[in-house]
């Protein structure tokens, strides 16, 4: 479904007065995510996980390499053509508060992608939103509340509902659970496991918390300083991990 080949990303520091520097953030990243599987990117802060996510989403261009999602080369697409890609690939960001317009209500947030992809009437949209709210276990009376009046866990549920509204096949979770409290983390992981069955989703989980990745993913890629250090598949279990990966396992 998603295939990345030899992705390299180099940032050039082009300011006038300092000496020219180029920083290699990602080097030769290749992987293949098959239909029906979920993949996790583990790694410390600054390992290049988020840059990789932005490249997969087409928000940034890779210096080298290609990203192919369901047969489409993402980096050759124009802005309007990317829209069709986002129909099948959605993302939940790290900080739920900042990823939703603070002036919007829950209803406004969830309806935005629905409006973009379907021509439904107002009543139909309302029904869809209600269905999504019950799918992420939020009560109906939250629908017309302002986003800023919800707690962090509720906000993240709204973000998940927004991502699910166009029935994607791949859901990218960019540290989507790291800013939440423990009890809520456990609740949302349970929710994500249920949704996976219900909507036949694949996840691409980006996290520094190995627990979350082990719970949700079938393939694990461990990134360190922009290089793939380890690759694990659930069939083989974890064998021969590198030392830094071992360090992550002691939580």
């Amino acid at each position: 479904m998603l295939k990345c080949e030899n992705i390299t990303k180099i940032y050039n520091d082009n300011s006038w007065f300092s000496k020219k520097e180029s920083i290699k953030v990602l080097e030769n990243i290749s992987f293949h995510l098959k239909q029906g599987r979920s993949m996790g990117f583990a790694g410390r802060n600054g390992a290049g996980k988020s840059t990789l996510m932005r490249i997969i989403l087409g928000l940034e261009k890779a210096t080298e390499g290609t990203v192919t999602f369901m047969g489409k080369d993402i980096h050759s697409l124009k802005y309007n053509e990317l829209k069709n890609v986002y129909k099948d690939m959605q993302v939940v960001f790290q900080d739920p508060q900042s990823s939703m317009n603070p002036q919007f209500t829950v209803y406004d947030v969830i309806k935005e992608p629905i409006e973009n992809y379907y021509n439904y009437t107002k009543d139909e949209i309302k029904d869809i939103v209600l269905n999504l709210l019950s799918a992420v276990k939020l009560s109906e009376d939250k629908m017309y509340k302002n986003i800023t009046h919800l707690s962090g866990g509720e906000q993240q549920r709204v973000a998940i509902a927004r991502a699910l509204s166009v029935q994607p096949k791949l859901l990218i979770l960019d540290e989507a659970l790291s800013s939440l409290d423990m009890i809520i983390q456990a609740e949302i992981i349970k929710l994500l496991e249920e949704l996976k069955e219900k909507y036949k989703l694949s996840y691409l989980v980006i996290s520094h918390d190995i627990r979350i990745i082990l719970k949700l993913c079938d393939d694990i890629i461990f990134l360190e300083n922009g290089i793939i250090k380890d690759r694990f598949f659930i069939e083989q279990g974890i064998n021969n991990p590198s030392d830094s990966f071992k360090n992550m396992m002691i939580v």
């Binding site: 802005y79 829209k83 993302v91 900042s98 317009n101 603070p102 002036q103 935005e112 992809y117």
Partner: protein
């Protein structure tokens, strides 16, 4: 609304706007009726504020003058907002060469003192109310365009704009639904603060005889008309002066109150992290 100051300000604003709207009903006389037999009449029950050098009722002229002042100021501010929103958001959203070119044009406008630039434009365009409005708008839009651009640049970086992109929203939709509301809420507050300033500009240019022309009832024109008689009848200058003063003060204070109310709110919510160092 519990703020007493704001209630007083808004009732003053309501009085100003109502007297402009219902000028024909409020004014006891036609402001253009000349009565040379009754010039410089003192304050009487029939002429509340007396008459001017042509025997026209000063009170009626001031009421009609409100109309002129408000219309000209509102037209200016709308023109300014229109220009600056378009230029600022295009420059901010597109970025790159487009941004550089538009901002250098802004810089050119910002280098000259506004009043002198306005005089230059009137010199080119000719005398008259519409030309004054155009001239003042042309001298002010660059400030606003810069502010709009900086807000757009800031909002563009926000996570929710990225999220909207990933929700398949078109560029136009992102600008209209996510960026414009934020820009407008801040720019309108600024514009209210600037209304008074622009009113002074219009009145000033009219006083110089470059704006609204002589028989029209307008505060700046009235001051100009009364100028030769400043020794004998200073009150003829003072009445419209007070009107300008009150209106400008009302607009400024409302602008300031609005700014305090909404901008500090936004500020405190984002910067409220308590930071304690031992």
């Amino acid at each position: 609304m519990k703020d007493k100051g704001l209630i007083i300000l808004f009732s003053l604003l309501a009085i100003i706007i109502l007297s402009a709207l219902f000028a024909p009903l409020i004014a006891p006389y036609n402001p253009y009726d000349v009565d040379l037999t009754n010039k410089f009449a003192p304050v009487t029950s029939s002429h509340i504020l007396g008459t001017d050098h042509l025997g026209r009722d000063v009170f009626s002229r001031i009421i009609y003058g409100t109309r002129m002042s408000l219309i000209s100021v509102l037209a200016t501010i709308l023109l300014v907002l229109f220009l600056s929103l378009i230029v600022g958001s295009i420059a901010g959203f597109r970025g790159g060469l487009f941004d550089s070119i538009l901002m250098r044009i802004c810089d050119v406008f910002l280098t000259f003192p506004t009043f002198i630039l306005a005089l230059f434009f009137i010199g080119v365009l000719g005398v008259g109310l519409i030309n004054v409005i155009i001239a003042i708008a042309l001298t002010h839009w660059a400030w606003y365009a810069r502010i709009v651009r900086s807000i757009v640049l800031e909002t563009k970086q926000k996570n929710y704009v990225t999220a909207a992109k990933c929700s398949g929203s078109s560029r136009l939709k992102i600008v209209l639904k996510h960026i414009m509301p934020k820009v407008l809420s801040q720019v309108i507050i600024l514009a209210t603060l600037d209304l008074g300033h622009m009113m002074l500009h219009v009145a000033g240019l009219s006083f110089l005889g470059l704006g609204v022309q002589a028989p029209t009832a307008e505060w700046g024109v009235m001051i100009n008309d009364a100028a030769p008689y400043i020794r004998e009848h200073p009150e003829l200058m003072i009445y419209p002066g007070i009107c300008i003063f009150i209106t400008v003060a009302v607009f400024n204070s409302i602008g300031e109150k609005l700014r305090d109310r909404y901008e500090t709110k936004e500020f405190s919510s984002s910067e409220s992290e308590l930071c304690v160092k031992s």
